[in-house]
């Protein structure tokens, strides 16, 4: 049963319907809370185990010792050895290499790496894609 112009009523109906196009750059796109966007880094909790570096499929992460370390603790008054202060680590994230799989977030034992919903990362300057988190 051939019917020429089978979609006639569907098409005419769409004259009065709301358009499906999302006006993206002018209207913010909403992504799900589970979306895997830019990876953020918390220096305070990082213990420098480099599990993320080992697991990253794209070799996008570098964990280095921070240039500024917290001052060494003063010796305790009673002469016992001081409690060593946690070393501070920086993370250099190459956003141009990152494939946003969030495997580093899954593997981090201290939850120092956090997946954000930030996805508007395109840039004309390549240097800005190398983020240095302190």
């Amino acid at each position: 049963m051939q019917k020429p112009a089978r979609a006639l009523f569907e098409v005419l109906g769409h004259l009065f319907k709301k358009k499906a196009t999302s006006n993206y750059p002018f209207e913010k796109a909403v992504v799900d809370a589970r979306f895997r966007g830019r990876i953020a880094f918390e220096s305070d909790t990082c213990i420098g185990c480099k599990m993320c570096v080992r697991v990253c499929p794209a070799k996008a992460i570098e964990i280095i010792l921070s240039a500024e370390q917290p001052p060494a603790p003063a010796p305790a008054a009673d002469g016992t050895a001081p409690v060593p202060v946690k070393k501070k680590f920086d993370c250099i994230m190459s956003l141009d290499r990152c494939i946003y799989c969030s495997q580093c977030v899954d593997v981090c034992p201290k939850k120092s790496l956090i997946s954000t919903q930030d996805f508007e990362l395109a840039h004309t300057d390549r240097k800005t894609l190398k983020r240095h988190y302190k």
């Binding site: 112009a5 895997r36 697991v55």
Partner: protein, 397 residues
């Protein structure tokens, strides 16, 4: 009438990915064709050999953007088989769910492409609009629209909450209603029928002989579906029909795909109903026991095939992927011969080709428009001669 040889691709509006078809035309009719692959060769299999099993998931996922879940599931099942890991039932259910959502999005994408290739842009716009629903579902479940990254060795990475379950069911209901409309539109609209009926004929015995897979084979009444033949994941617990059609043409492939959509909705409902309680992953050590594994998976385009060899380290020794499009290429040249130039995009699109999946092999042809297929011995001889000319002689080694 004199013969004209025209190139179709590697850059051509009908093709979304680089591949070259050389067509010899007599007027509007095709008297010869040759497929020339290799424009999208990325060396993924080699790259997989110096990454760990876990990192390879994300690499294998990028074999293809459309059937990324098919490839990872197929690969990971090999890994789990070697590691003798017991994947939890809930993880299997979630893998099945994502697999079926992926099939829905791939078949809707195909329907849109088919509309576009026959110049029916309205169908293209409508199906791709509705495809957003399933892409949103996938983002909901996995956190991304294309590279889901939901598989991990020993299970899945993300669980499904009751809220998400309700949301998926709601969207599937919308999709099912729309799909019923497309079934009507595809089987009744006069121009669609004119462009698909008796186009790209692939008789039953030729389909068997040339080893067609997936919807291409099923439209030639070949009852072949890995989900039925060798059930993996939880497909043995599900109730669904194997869709075949006996018109052997593009119309049959359209009908098979659209009806498979309806079956997929059924499966999605059953999986969400079934969803057993329990953990979603088990721990698997980084080093995988030595051995070989082979696995098959019914990707949206047909049978996907993965081979894995491990040598006991944390990296695979060999990964081999045979994507469904590769299995369907021999059928394409059969379908093109004697057809019309106007039908070429339809015929090529009807196997739902995926070049990035396929480009791991080379087909040689020479300049005169004749195709030369090299046998293994010839190829070996050719290779030796070729390198001899460049001053490398393997025979002395």
């Amino acid at each position: 009438m004199s013969k004209i040889t025209i190139p179709l691709g590697p850059q051509h509006p009908a093709l979304k990915e680089p591949v070259n078809f050389t067509l010899v035309l007599e007027g509007e009719q095709i008297s010869g064709s040759a497929v020339n692959l290799g424009y999208n060769h990325r060396g993924i299999e080699k790259a997989a050999e110096d990454r760990t099993f876990l990192q390879d998931i994300y690499l294998i996922e990028r074999v293809c953007g459309i059937c990324s879940h098919s490839h990872t599931t197929c690969y990971i099942t090999c890994v789990e088989e070697l590691a003798k890991a017991e994947v939890p039932e809930r993880a299997k259910a979630i893998r099945t769910l994502v697999g079926e959502l992926e099939r829905v999005h791939s078949h809707l994408l195909w329907l849109g492409i088919a509309g576009y290739e026959m110049g029916f842009e309205t169908l293209f716009m409508y199906t791709w609009r509705d495809r957003e629903q399933v892409l949103d579902c996938l983002e909901l479940v996995s956190g991304n629209r294309v590279h889901y990254g939901i598989n991990t060795i020993g299970g899945v990475r993300r669980d499904i909450t009751p809220g998400q379950k309700a949301e998926i069911l709601k969207r599937v209901a919308i999709l099912e209603e729309r799909t019923k409309y497309y079934v009507k539109l595809g089987t009744e609209e006069a121009t669609v029928l004119a462009r698909t009926r008796n186009v790209g004929l692939l008789p039953h015995d030729v389909a068997l002989e040339r080893g067609a897979v997936g919807p291409t084979a099923r439209a030639s009444a070949v009852k072949r579906d890995v989900r039925k033949d060798e059930p993996y994941l939880i497909y043995d617990k599900l109730d669904f029909n194997l869709i075949t059609h006996n018109t052997n043409d593009v119309f049959g492939r359209l009908v098979v795909r659209v009806l498979e959509l309806v079956e997929s909705y059924k499966i999605i409902r059953q999986v969400l109903d079934y969803l057993p309680e329990g953990p979603i992953a088990v721990k698997v050590p980084a080093k995988i026991a030595p051995g070989e594994a082979v696995n098959r998976y019914e990707a949206p385009r047909g049978e996907d095939f993965h081979y894995l060899k491990s040598n006991g380290t944390d990296k695979p020794e060999r990964v081999k992927v045979r994507a469904p499009t590769m299995a369907n290429y021999p059928s394409v040249s059969y379908m093109l011969d004697g057809g019309y130039l106007a039908d070429v995009p339809m015929v090529i699109a009807a196997i739902d080709p995926c070049m990035s999946c396929t480009d791991r092999a080379m087909v040689y042809d020479n300049k005169a428009g004749k195709v030369r297929v090299y046998g293994w011995d010839e190829l070996r001889k050719y290779g030796i001669e070729h390198y001899k000319k460049r001053g490398v002689d393997f025979t002395k080694l």
